[in-house]
Assembly symmetry: C2
Homo-oligomer: 314 residues x 2
Amino acid sequence: MVALRDRDILFIGIDGGGSKCRASIVDADNRLLGSGVAGPANPLHGYAQTIDSIARSAALALADARLSPEILGELVAGVGLAGVNMPRLYNEMASWAHPFRKMYLTTDQHSACLGAHRGGDGAVIIAGTGSVGYSWVNGKSTLIGGHGFPHGDKGSGAWMGMEAVKYLLMALDGLAEDSGLKGELLEVLESRTANEVFEKIGGKSSSHYARLAVPVIECAEAGDPVAAAIVRDGAAYISDLADKLLELKPPRLSMIGGLAPRLRPWLAPHVLDHLSEPLDAPEYGCVYFAQQSLAKEAGGIPVAKKADSKALYG
Amino acid sequence: MVALRDRDILFIGIDGGGSKCRASIVDADNRLLGSGVAGPANPLHGYAQTIDSIARSAALALADARLSPEILGELVAGVGLAGVNMPRLYNEMASWAHPFRKMYLTTDQHSACLGAHRGGDGAVIIAGTGSVGYSWVNGKSTLIGGHGFPHGDKGSGAWMGMEAVKYLLMALDGLAEDSGLKGELLEVLESRTANEVFEKIGGKSSSHYARLAVPVIECAEAGDPVAAAIVRDGAAYISDLADKLLELKPPRLSMIGGLAPRLRPWLAPHVLDHLSEPLDAPEYGCVYFAQQSLAKEAGGIPVAKKADSKALYG
């Protein structure tokens, strides 16, 4: 057993996701020392790639901070990952013989929320490829929406893309009105016929559909009625999600994710009034989670070093 | 070379599908001699199972007709299959060293249309797990809609199931009004929470979603406003599809498929006025296709027997 001297502790926040994994190392005063970005880290899509991306992003962050690779074993890690609300995935990740001094694992929603509110209570709407609402108030977490593509995640990029493709196929069949959106989508998909559209996108993953979201929103902004109807419908759902989160009385509410800036002008005015800018990025939320977990756990008492740390995951 | 004497020819019509394959043997006067049903025969889902189900259904039909198994090599087969409008799947199926005297291959839509109109011109709306419109007029085929689940096939069973699941998840989140449909769907899915619903149906195939269509329509019939809105939206699309088909001036228009009787009362009145009862089942359409192909090809001249028949597929 060695006591961790508070002033010496280095934290690493690691935010995993379906397309990349971002790690940032900070000192005890939360000064950024270095960052690194590696490939996808989503346990839903595979354990091996997840731990590989986490380890790579950490190594890159250490290099960026000009710290020796051996420092890895001294870092206290907070890791935010999709799917670890499911016991199977949590246990799988928690059983990893990780290289850190300690590792604290939480959901990507929780770390995003802590990041947005600098470690404090609050709520977030996450709007990117997917959509979900999350609130953390008085130690209670609430998840609203989500549920995944294509049955859930309304208002998300993938949802908008799917609605656009549905419309496009109907328009090509002469079963929906023509519009600027039709031509724009055909251009983006490099297609002329329904069969070509199907070949390009049919059965593809949510991220393929999400690539159509910006063209849809741009058409909506240019006044295309079909595109505007899609975006309005999605944004109305996101506004409803915001209202549901506000019922939980979070001190702050932020909207984050790749689609957030584009979706913002379409939200209900009273929701806009309640939105606060996110303060820090999700990987900082991971750092705050690690710091809070360490503080709760340690309470001034010397903390187990790596060899004993697995007992602390539960 | 042996001449096929017209009065001796036995035809077998084989209608493949995603859940089963049905074969019927008829004599030259189209009198039914026997039928057989085997497992799935959808080339999109695998070649081996498709040819296995075709062969099994044919063997069962022979047994049902109390004909010797060797007669298989004397049968002229018409086979209707999904996906054979795609050259790859057509060529794959056509290269099968099939056991029949001859085999004529067409799409399941064409055989269904020929069946519904006893071999004559006409159009069909096929509404089951999927939805599609097909017309065969003056030797010209037109396909409208379809495109598959979940981006196409509006008004189909799978589409209704998907819309119902979307609603259910929103209702469980408190983001959609409560309704009788919610309780009904939870019962059918043996679930209480959004997570349980997701576990039961999330990411499942179109046939899983299609199982929810009858409960949705029953709720709609009982006056549930949410269910009625879903069914009305789907039926409006099917009515539009019918209008599009009627523009092609088919002598007859029929609606077939498992959902057809349930969907009928929800169609636009002018569409209902144009609907004729389907005359024969799809496997008869396969027989008509074989007879028409043979007649076109032979023109009274002796026809190649099995060993030469591959040349006739193109």
